[in-house]
Structure formats: structure tokens, C-alpha cells
């Protein structure tokens, strides 16, 4: 993702392990930060935040041991770009997963809202116990934001890639 960051204001940023306590803590922060503004917008940002950041927790290839549990690590930011709020996440993925992400994000960006809803309904029926639904999560993010996903997958070495994704939510 390339953008001029000079007019942007970081509202929230974090880099580290993401367990449920971290996820819910920052979720509460988001609700507090946006409490006086447009509640529809605030709710949308919150939902997108949970979907994208929970994906880091589930799927990051960088796992950190915390109290005997393996927890996904990565980074997220919520930024005010002027016309938009932007939710950005970044995490390591396995190279094979990186290829799947590229394919899934590309597909999502070609579809309109009606097609995305149909795809989400179809994918939801296919979800099984071991699958926590990353693909559907990204579809849902695209639907909520009513904007294209901005994403890159940078191959770091033979095993890992760095997955960056951001989504603009119009004010």
C-alpha cells in the first residue's frame, strides 16, 4: 500500500500478540473514542476492526507463547485520513496462505454488494468446525465498508509472506 501519510492522524495502533483480552480491550477503546460521533459509522468501524484483527489472532504465522497458549501476533492501526477512517492490519502468513489471500481479496474486489452477499451466504454454508472463516470475514469487511480491499502480500523468504490489508470507511 502506498499513500501519502502527511495528513493522516493515528487514532489507535498496536503491535504484538493478539488474544481475546487484547481484542476486546481495544474494541472497548474504539467504542469510547467514537462515542460522540455518528453511531452507525462507529459500529461499522468496530465490526471491521474485530473481523480483521481477529484474523491476525487466528491466522498469523508469527505465534507467541503467552501463559502456555500460542497466540497470533501482528499489527493494526486505525487512522483518520480526512475523508475516511482506515483500518489497517499487518501480519506474517505462510507463503501458501499468502497466495490464497491474494486470490480471495482479488475476487472480493471484483464483486458488487449483491454478489458479495451471495458469495458470503454460499461460503457460510461451507464453514466447518475447524474453519474460523477468514475468507467470509474479508467478504463481510468489504460489504461493511462499501469499499475495495487494499492489500499486498510481500514474500519475505521461502516460508513466509507479509500480509497487509487496509479498508477505507467513508465518514
Amino acid at each position: 500500500m502506498e499513500s501519502d501519510h502527511s495528513d493522516q492522524k493515528t487514532i489507535l495502533a498496536y503491535h504484538g500478540p493478539i488474544d481475546m483480552d487484547v481484542l476486546s480491550f481495544f474494541g472497548k477503546m474504539i467504542k469510547r473514542i467514537f462515542i460522540h460521533g455518528d453511531q452507525s459509522l462507529s459500529t461499522r468501524i468496530y465490526k471491521i476492526y474485530i473481523e480483521l484483527v481477529q484474523n491476525i489472532s487466528y491466522y498469523s504465522a508469527e505465534m507467541i507463547s503467552l501463559n502456555g497458549h500460542k497466540i497470533g501476533a501482528g499489527a493494526f492501526e486505525i487512522v483518520d485520513t480526512g475523508n475516511f477512517y482506515q483500518v489497517r492490519t499487518k501480519n506474517l502468513v505462510y507463503r501458501a496462505d499468502g497466495h490464497k489471500l491474494l486470490k480471495n481479496c482479488s475476487e472480493i474486489n471484483t464483486l458488487n454488494a449483491k454478489e458479495l452477499r451471495m458469495l458470503k451466504r454460499m461460503k457460510r454454508r461451507e464453514l466447518v468446525q475447524i474453519d474460523t472463516g477468514a475468507h467470509i470475514g474479508l467478504i463481510h469487511v468489504g460489504l461493511l465498508a462499501k469499499n475495495k480491499l487494499d492489500y499486498t502480500v510481500e514474500e519475505m523468504n521461502n516460508d513466509y509472506s507479509l500480509f497487509n490489508i487496509s479498508i477505507n470507511i467513508k465518514k
Binding site: M20, L23, I50, R117, R121, R124, G133
Partner: protein, 127 residues
């Protein structure tokens, strides 16, 4: 049959509270749902519903008061709706109400999708 009650956990806001009443058939799920182990949480709810509706036409009123649920949870919500639809198809009295904040218009699309996928009518109630 016993009631199923799961109280809200203040330090774990990602679990909804649950109150399924075996005497009245009124079932409620309230709060937010984005726990890690969605199947583990929702399986007892599904089992209770299947037992409650097994081989009878007991009436059920199911109230969803979820302000947020992640995509994993939505799969299990669909499973709940499937059980309710099957019960309704037996001739039982089944009413499903979805309470939502009018400041959350995206929720209307979600509920419409649930109706399409489950084939069950859901009353949308603004609060």
C-alpha cells in the same frame, strides 16, 4: 427438561448471555458473540434446542438481541435457525425476533441474509 442459562461474563464481553426457558419456550441470546471457540460455545445451545423440539410441537419464541457477532458465530446462528425451521415445518408455533439498534443498518442486511438462507421468517424489531 432444565433451563439453559449462561450469564454474561463482564471480563469476557465476547460471550453473549443465554436464557432458554423450558417452561415457556422463550429463548434469548443477548450481547456480543465473537469468542474463539464458537462451536464449543454454541453446541450446548443447539443440543438444548434439539432436545426441546424433539418429537413434539412445543412453541418456541426465539429472541436474538445480538449487537455484534463475528462470521464464525453467524454460521452457528444459521444452525439454530435451521433447527427452528425444522420445528416449524412439523406444525409448531415458532416465532423468531431479531432486535437491533436503528443506528446499525448493516444488521438489517444480515438478518435478511439469515432469512434467505434459513427459509425462516424473522421479525426485525428496532430498539
Amino acid at each position: 427438561m432444565e433451563n439453559l442459562v449462561i450469564n454474561e461474563i463482564p471480563d469476557s464481553p465476547f460471550y453473549p448471555s443465554v436464557n432458554f426457558n423450558a417452561e415457556t419456550g422463550i429463548c434469548e441470546v443477548v450481547g456480543e458473540s465473537y469468542m474463539e471457540e464458537t462451536f464449543k460455545f454454541y453446541t450446548p445451545l443447539l443440543d438444548w434446542l434439539k432436545n426441546y423440539t424433539y418429537n413434539n410441537t412445543n412453541p418456541v419464541t426465539f429472541n436474538f438481541k445480538l449487537t455484534y457477532f463475528n462470521t464464525s458465530s453467524s454460521r452457528l446462528i444459521l444452525d439454530i435457525l435451521d433447527v427452528l425451521r425444522e420445528h416449524k415445518e412439523k406444525g409448531s408455533d415458532v416465532e423468531v425476533n431479531w432486535y437491533f439498534d436503528e443506528q446499525d443498518p448493516d444488521m438489517e442486511d444480515e438478518v435478511e441474509d439469515f432469512m434467505i438462507e434459513s427459509g425462516l421468517e424473522i421479525n426485525m424489531v428496532k430498539f
